[in-house]
Assembly symmetry: C2
């Protein structure tokens, strides 16, 4: 086998990122966290994932410092995004953008995107773009919200409305 | 097992994107393609990947429409990015940004990033940002180039210079 170059995995930040985010469940768990899920049972319900697998994936994400496990009232726990976890969001949104454009399911095409992401303060749709460094004000996952897109089912609409209501109640 | 919601894999564009890009070699092969690699032997040399695995991964990327296999002179082939493939770049760059910031190897920290991505026309560093849709001029992989960062080894510097020279020669 030829020698690896400096591009090889152990030197490449993208390869290192994918070592954490490339695992199928990891990105789906983060997706739920971005949309406000914090409780084990809520991740389980949203993802339809076996509890033993969910427990293992959450443990790995906590070990990687992407989520932190916080004790809350009633001997329960929440899994909350760390700064490291929140900063995955631009990559997540870029993957969503590409998936919406290039990986649409046949039944998507007539109805369009399932989720629309908009700026919380203005309601304007957002996108991920390559820009000269430092030329646009940084927008984070906290500055946006997920709305049901044209492709969303009634069940998803209801779920998103509940999520936003819970957030509003939480202050 | 609880029923899957609309967030579940088959409806989620991110899950669909990860089905193509989440495979470890896929993102490394695309990385090389973004940096100008097109030939089987060049991918093999850059990645230190077994030829049978490389052949299988390239075939999958062609089937997914991310690369296309083009016959060139001398009974050889090139693997070229399609529009679908080129549009993975913002997600790739967002993953790089996150990896550089949050997944740095201990030996990285003193020396900094291995690769710096700059705007081809101005030499300004670029970054991936979340912006209101349509508010910044679209920049693609064709508008940027990879320069050796402070963490780059002499071997990588040489390789990047050769790549840029080849591109310049190609017009």
């Amino acid at each position: 086998m030829p020698p690896r170059t400096d591009f090889a995995q152990e030197r490449c930040p993208v390869a290192r990122a994918m070592a954490v985010l490339g695992e199928r469940w990891a990105i789906l768990i983060l997706r739920e966290a971005f949309y406000g899920v914090t409780r084990f049972d809520a991740f389980e319900r949203a993802l339809g994932i076996a509890p033993n697998i969910l427990a293992a994936r959450l443990k790995a994400l906590v070990e990687h410092g992407v989520l932190r496990k916080v004790a809350v009232e009633g001997n329960r726990h929440e899994y909350r995004l760390t700064d490291k976890g929140r900063e995955v969001y631009p990559a997540f949104l870029a993957l969503k953008q590409w998936g919406d454009r290039w990986m649409a399911l046949p039944e998507d095409s007539p109805v369009g995107s399932v989720i629309e992401v908009v700026e919380r303060s203005t309601g304007r749709p957002v996108e991920v773009a390559i820009v000269p460094a430092g030329t646009v004000p940084p927008m984070t996952v906290r500055d946006v919200k997920a709305l049901p897109g044209p492709g969303a089912s009634p069940a998803l609409r209801e779920r998103l409305e509940t999520m936003h209501k819970d957030r509003a109640d939480a202050g």
